[in-house]
């Protein structure tokens, strides 16, 4: 073992100490300068969203800059890729560096509002009059509005026109038709029907239209209504009309199957339009997801992102941020987002003119009118219910038990 002798000089020790003090001072300096900037007049505000890939990145960036200009403030935008947004925002919350304007996926809003990290938009005189009911419910926590959502999306039934024509069927509108058509459309390596049912919230999201349209409710999933919805999917699988692999398919995987002609019909959303339109040989149409019985109302889940004003403690910034949020949600911007991003405006009065200008989104505009928010009932407790729903779906689709048994098991945790 080597002993360290006495030649370590005191001067060297002093140098180390000095360095440590220097680092501490620098850290303190940075902290104080950050605090100082909080009281200064606001010339720029920070915006965080998750539109990190093109074309959405530029479309949203363009609107943000235009809004900044109209409010008279410079926008410093940070687009964080979707899966990392929440973790990044939690870090920002704990280090008190939340941005002035924060975009959240709508089912996440209530959890954040609950934590006190957001300010009620009523403080700035913002209301959600004229917005689709479910959209408002998703952005409301304990009776107060915390976010404003300019556009929404949902899921519907995509069908391959050529394959349906060949089999001589028209797009199904009821569950019975769906099952019969899917069977007729199944041949060779082509399945009649595909949806995404993985062990993630994506699986829950895709199951909601079946569960809700049949009167199922997330507060208790061990009911005959939910069991019947799950039974439909089990039947489609045991008929051979739907691949057993759906339990491992994301919505992107489902889209790949549809694109390749391996599925004649699929459940998916308008964000797939660009991918599908790129395949010139593919002719597809979109209709609302079939309902249990003719004349029923389809109830699909609402997607889309909501814009919030975090509680930064800096009133001047918060006021400006609220103006930017209001601007993002102007009629003009709702229509612009809808057209360019293939999504649906949330102000119902805008829908007729929107559908006239964008006929491809007709089915989705219909779906959105009656759609529901996932967090509308359970709020911050939605994630627990969503986990139960996909757990039961996986259990039934892999034959671990009957829908009734799987649902009861999942409901009891």
């Amino acid at each position: 073992m080597t002993r360290f002798p006495a030649f370590l000089s005191r001067s060297r020790l002093t140098a180390v100490t000095a360095l440590a003090v220097l680092i501490a001072c620098a850290a303190y300096g940075a902290a104080t300068s950050a605090a100082a900037s909080k009281t200064a007049r606001a010339t720029s505000i920070r915006v965080v969203d998750y539109y990190a890939s093109e074309p959405d990145k530029s479309i949203v960036g363009g609107v943000l800059n235009a809004c900044g200009k109209s409010v008279g403030v410079k926008i410093n935008r940070d687009a964080i890729p979707g899966p990392n947004l929440i973790q990044k925002v939690l870090q920002m919350a704990s280090s008190h560096t939340l941005p002035d304007v924060l975009m959240l996926d709508n089912p996440d809003l209530q959890q954040f509002a609950q934590s006190g990290a957001l300010t009620p938009l009523g403080n700035y005189g913002i209301t959600a009059k004229g917005y689709q009911k479910g959209v408002v419910a998703a952005s409301t926590y304990k009776g107060k509005l915390y976010g404003l959502q300019p556009i929404t999306n949902s899921i519907a039934l995509f069908y391959n026109k050529d394959l349906l024509a060949k089999a001589g069927v028209t797009p199904p509108t009821t569950w019975a038709e769906l099952r019969a058509d899917a069977k007729k459309l199944t041949s060779g390596s082509t399945y009649g029907f595909a949806l995404s049912a993985p062990a993630t919230y994506e699986g829950t999201w895709q199951f909601m239209p079946f569960m809700w349209s049949n009167g199922g409710d997330e507060r208790n999933i061990a009911t005959p209504q939910v069991a019947a919805a799950l039974q439909l999917l089990v039947d489609l699988k045991s008929d051979g009309s739907m691949s057993a692999s759906v339990v491992n398919w994301s919505q992107g995987d489902v889209d790949d199957q549809f694109k390749a002609g391996n599925a004649a019909m699929m459940v998916n959303g308008p964000w797939q339009f660009p991918v599908l339109n790129a395949v010139t040989s593919l002719h597809y149409g979109v209709v609302p997801i079939p309902v249990p019985k003719a004349g029923g109302v389809p109830v699909a889940p609402l997607g889309g992102e909501t814009w919030t004003v975090p509680n930064t403690g800096n009133t001047a910034h918060e006021q400006l941020a609220a103006k930017v949020v209001r601007c993002i949600n102007s009629d003009k911007n709702e229509l612009l987002f809808g057209k360019k991003r293939q999504v649906v405006p949330t102000k119902l009065a805008l829908l007729p003119q929107f559908v006239r200008a964008n006929p491809a989104l007709k089915a989705f505009s219909t779906v959105v009118r009656t759609a529901r928010a996932r967090t509308g009932e359970l709020g911050a407790n939605w994630p627990k219910a969503a986990t139960k729903i996909y757990t039961a779906e996986q259990c039934a689709l892999t034959g671990q038990g009957t829908p009734e048994k799987c649902l009861a098991q999942a409901q009891n945790g």
Binding site: R3, F4, L90, S115, N248, T398, G399, N412
Partner: protein, 328 residues
């Protein structure tokens, strides 16, 4: 120890009385104590590093396991004390038993597979043959590919309908050519865990083979020559020379293997996401799920701590085995 000054310093420490008489009164400190302080100072960086990067996170994680730590905590900094509620919730959830069983099967299956194949390959490459060097480096490939890319490719290959593995099975007439008959490698609850273990074995082979190969190279050639003179055949040479001398290396490989395997989440998340129907859910994926999907960081930490304790048991076993090897 060639430096005479250093040698003198050692003597100085060992015989404090001489040191004291020689350097007495130097700023009120004996040389021995000065020496002692300097030693401590040199320890400081290592201790600080351990405390900041290992001690703090572990203590924090243990504490978090006893708190109601949710998204709100990040903003308010307030996490109410929850006592054992998190552990109770984790242990009583219906998933936990299955996750614990899967963790055991996944770890044992992966280690047995990785180690046997790794050892086999290491022994094989011990012999020189044309292109052996090149082949040995190719063996490292699974290790060099980013895990996410590797799992994505495996997911494609294992796809029940269009995956290359089922296509192959159809071509050699091992399964019938209709989708219902294809084995659902990742979609059948009875097969998914096996598939995930197989992929993890594939990923772990390079690590095992490389370390074991290094261990084999350290065994002096003359032992084998001497054994050969005594008439020890291949198996007896392995049994009486290779295996005993490899013991320390084998210990390292196995214990590191167990600890690495216990905490695997990326491979499972990439292949199955813990599904279908929790068939591939392990304590590690469960912990991730609780913390970063459901944002119940308290319960996530509790599940993580259970895993840490299990790892710790193996680490202690490893240290004890090593000590025995050194003293023996």
């Amino acid at each position: 120890m060639a430096d005479p000054r250093a040698a003198k310093a050692v003597v100085g420490v060992n015989t404090p009385t001489t040191a004291r008489s020689a350097e007495a009164g130097f700023r009120g400190l004996s040389q021995a104590r000065r020496q002692r302080m300097l030693e401590l100072l040199f320890l400081l960086p290592a201790v600080a590093f351990l405390l900041v990067f290992f001690g703090y996170p572990i203590v924090e994680n243990v504490v978090m396991g006893f708190e109601r730590y949710t998204t709100s905590t990040f903003f308010t900094g307030h996490a109410p004390w929850a006592g054992l509620a998190n552990y109770r919730a984790v242990l009583r959830s219906s998933v936990f038993t299955e996750a614990a069983r899967n963790t055991l099967l996944f770890t044992v299956g992966s280690i047995v597979g990785q180690f046997t194949i790794g050892l086999g390959l290491a022994l094989y490459f011990q012999r020189k043959f044309p292109l052996s060097g090149l082949l040995r480096s190719l063996l490292l490939l699974p290790w060099l590919i980013p895990l996410l890319a590797a799992t994505t490719v495996w997911k494609w290959m294992l796809d029940a309908d269009n995956g290359v593995i089922n296509r192959l099975l159809v071509d050699v007439h091992l399964t019938a050519n209709h989708p219902g008959a294809h084995p659902g490698w990742l979609t059948s609850p009875s097969l998914a865990l096996v598939s995930v273990i197989l992929v993890n074995i594939w990923i772990g082979i390079p690590f095992n083979a490389t370390i074991l190969y290094g261990g084999l190279r350290d065994i002096p050639e003359h032992l084998y020559e001497a054994a050969a003179l005594d008439g020890a055949t291949r198996w007896r040479a392995f049994r009486h020379i290779t295996w005993p001398l490899m013991r320390p290396v084998v210990n390292v490989v196995l214990v590191l293997g167990v600890v690495y395997t216990l905490k695997v989440i990326d491979i499972i998340l990439g292949l199955t996401g813990g599904g279908p129907a929790n068939a591939t859910q392990t304590i590690a994926t469960q912990s991730y799920q609780l913390s970063f999907v459901q944002f119940d960081f308290g319960q996530g930490a509790a599940a993580g701590n259970i895993l840490v304790v299990i790892s710790l048991v193996f680490a202690v076993l490893y240290l004890r085995a090593n000590r025995r090897a050194v003293t023996a």
